[in-house]
């Protein structure tokens, strides 16, 4: 039986001790969950195993012998395959090229394209992933990219498979097929490390559960002997996880009205009204046109037909700059590509949307900027060593909070959230919901798209179900069960 062990592994980043003498061992043939709040060091541990970052102290042992890889390629050759938290495919290449990058079959000096495609095709089919190997990655959606990453990792026939939040952008049915793939690995003595913030998944897929908090190992437990409450206690210490308040009502006034909107491609003839202080959910499977719908309202992409009314005024030809001025905010789903500027500081990233509000005239009012930054860091509990560090030094979940904070700084009247809780821990998720509710109480309306339907049921006043680009039904959360919601969105 294979074993992956660490012996007092530490990782010091500037300003942060990301791992503090962690000693843990993972056995083959089991699925090991790795959980902890945002910034607790999960990705750091995975990155040390995969050779992406060096440890600053301690040793890693695979089957008793010390390993230390200089780069991810070397780790892959030695059987450690990793699906990273942030997507890392090359956008300009095809799916087949991405899967076999750096090791394409050759015919003499030339790449054997036919064979490349065939290998990729077989792999995708075996895993039951319905994507053509000839598709160019830049045309794929986030969840399709995610599946390609998984296929790529599997193609190494790994001894250790590390999955860093693989399901953060997948919906129920993709998650099911991923789980099927992972379960098969149990029989092959593969060591599977699995990171997730969707805690309910743990009881479906994991055997053991290892909890990190602020870089320290809290403990490893058999998942079957652990309750959700105990787990949350291990993750956060003593916190009170908030639930939906009782006093949420919404007004009569229509804030946003959408009539017969279509983008000519993904969704058609969508009409609905959003009331003052209302939280409206949009449920739907991936590819149902949810992101496109929000994008058209926000003017990030052109609508093909229909009308949008904001506060009773018809909006012609919207664009993000104009909607920002009118107090409409939208957080993007694809954080790395569309949400943040990784080259810039955390403080800059928190003030992009509110740039024009940072003082009068052409100058940036530094005092105001500082105040805006500090407000979001405190309200959202962003774990930062220093707001002058680059945003790329934040953990994935904390980057997501920056995306949300950037928009909250404009003090919006309507907020459009595309997967706002992607990759953030249970507690931070509640903080964001809390903010949505607090805003709702102040009369601010929100639309929220999420693949996690239970989330919609918890947060929203009303849920639209989008299927194949049309509104299938409008439901109230108290009237449906999660199962019903899934069934309607899937068309069963």
């Amino acid at each position: 039986m294979s074993v992956l062990e660490t012996n007092r592994v530490s990782k010091q980043y500037p300003g942060t001790l990301a791992l503090d003498e962690v000693s843990v061992s993972f056995e083959g043939g089991k699925i090991h969950a790795l959980v902890g709040k945002n910034g607790s060091g999960k990705s750091t541990l995975v990155n040390i195993f995969s050779g992406a970052v060096p440890a600053s102290g301690g040793t890693v042992l695979l089957n008793g012998s010390p390993i230390s890889f200089k780069n991810p390629a070397e780790a892959q050759q030695n059987g450690i395959a990793t699906v990273y938290q942030e997507l890392s495919l090359v956008p300009g290449l095809t799916v087949a090229e991405n899967i076999l990058i750096g090791r394409m079959p050759m015919k003499g000096p030339m790449v054997d394209w036919k064979k490349t495609r065939k290998i990729a095709q077989e792999l995708l089919e075996e895993l039951g992933i319905d994507i053509s190997p000839n598709d160019v990655v830049s045309d794929l959606t986030v969840w399709q990219c995610q599946m390609v990453e998984i296929a790529k990792a599997m193609s190494f026939d790994p001894k250790v498979l590390q999955l860093d939040e693989p399901t953060s952008s997948l919906a129920q049915n993709e998650v099911e097929s991923l789980f099927r793939i992972i379960r098969k690995l149990r029989e092959k003595d593969v060591i599977v490390l699995y990171i997730t913030h969707k805690l309910q998944e743990l009881w479906q897929i994991a055997d053991t559960c290892t909890v990190l908090r602020d870089g320290k190992l809290i403990g490893t437990e058999q998942i079957s002997e652990l309750s959700r409450r105990q787990l949350i206690g291990m993750m956060f210490g003593d916190v009170e996880v908030k639930t939906r308040p009782e006093d949420l009502r919404y007004g009569e006034d229509v804030v946003l009205k959408v009539e017969h909107l279509s983008d000519g491609h993904r969704f058609t003839d969508v009409s609905f009204e959003l009331h003052k202080g209302e939280v409206l959910g949009i449920a739907g499977m991936l590819g149902s046109g949810r992101t496109e719908l929000l994008n058209c309202i926000f003017g990030a992409q052109k609508a093909a037909g229909g009308a949008i009314w904001l506060h009773g005024e018809e909006i012609k030809d919207p664009n993000p700059e104009m909607m920002n001025r009118k107090g409409v905010a939208m957080t993007q789903e694809d954080r790395k590509r569309l949400g943040v500027n990784l080259d810039a500081r955390i403080s800059d990233n928190l003030c992009y949307a509110s740039l024009q509000r940072l003082g009068k005239g052409i100058m940036v009012d530094r005092a105001k900027e500082k105040q805006y930054v500090a407000r979001q860091v405190a309200d959202l509990g962003i774990k930062v060593a220093d707001v002058n560090y680059l945003v790329s030094s934040l953990s994935g979940g904390n980057q997501q909070k920056v995306v949300v904070g950037n928009w909250l700084n404009i003090e919006p009247t309507v907020m459009l959230f595309d997967e706002p809780s992607r990759g953030i821990d249970v507690n931070a998720k509640q903080q964001i919901f809390q903010i949505i509710w607090d805003q709702a109480r102040k009369g601010i309306s929100s639309i929220m798209v999420s693949s996690e339907l239970e989330e919609l049921i918890e947060v929203c006043h009303r849920i639209l179900i989008l299927r194949n680009g049309v509104i299938e039904r409008t439901v109230l959360p108290q009237d449906v069960s999660i199962e019903d919601l899934y069934a309607i969105s899937m068309g069963e």
Partner: protein, 325 residues
Amino acid sequence: MTSSKKLSIGNIVKNYTLEIILVALAIILTFVTPHFLTLNNLMNILRNISLQGVVAFGMTIVIVCGELDLSLSSSIALTGVLIGLIGGKLDAAGIMPLQYGVLVGIAAAFVVCTCVGLINGWLITRFRIPAMIVTLAMQNILYGIAAIISNGFPVITFPAWYSFIGSGRIFGIVPVPVIILAVVFAITAFVLSYTKFGRATFACGGNAEAARLSGINVKRTKIISMVIVQLCCVVSGIMLSSQVMSGTFSFARGWEMNAISSVIIGGASIAGGIGKMRGTLLGIIFLGILLNGMTLLNVNDYIQYVVRGCLIIFAVLLSTLKNKK
């Protein structure tokens, strides 16, 4: 918490690499040639870097914004030609004496180059043509126009006072161009770090699509940056024509390369989103001292070209390696 701010030798070397190389270069030159460390020569270096330095500052804003401007050498030459021609023509037609006529010429140069910047920016943002292509084409167009309007001859109708801008010295020591360099540095550095436009510039260069989706007007930001660099060209063109009291269409050839290399040597990323005005200032001083040293050591002109070319490749290499990790 404070471990990052520790004053270790390693950190100092990492943060002040360019300064250290600069000092080392100066020390070496002081020892190998007696002419280097003289007040006269140092002022000379400063005067020489002023003309190109001014455009390098403008170029920093453009590069941070994720674009490039290769047309600036022609704009610099065109400025000199325009000023001399308009001054001369007004004088000849008896409308205005030459002293004042060149002022009209200067105003005209500002208007023309602003338009050039607007057109460059418009073509880049509206049709998504790469800046490299648009501005290279513009370089040829302006070069041709400057040659046509001057019939291919140097224009030499400048009043006597005009030479003060390029050759005058304040208190008999500090060359006027150095003062102008300092002023342009202060303005551009201020724009980049303290204004909303400056923030937007970094956002557009770092991730243009994310900037757009945050409600930043990416097109306007890019166009303004293309105009700013052209305004810097006019300032540089005035100094250049004043120094030689002539406007010639073939002046300033290849200056865009010097501007780009000083920006990159100064630590900016050629991909956009990263850069500092202070870095560019060090970059042009470095380049100025290097060229001055080679001249003092009688290094052949053509070898200087080779050295300069290698330097650009080296600097870009360094910056890509540094910004990749």
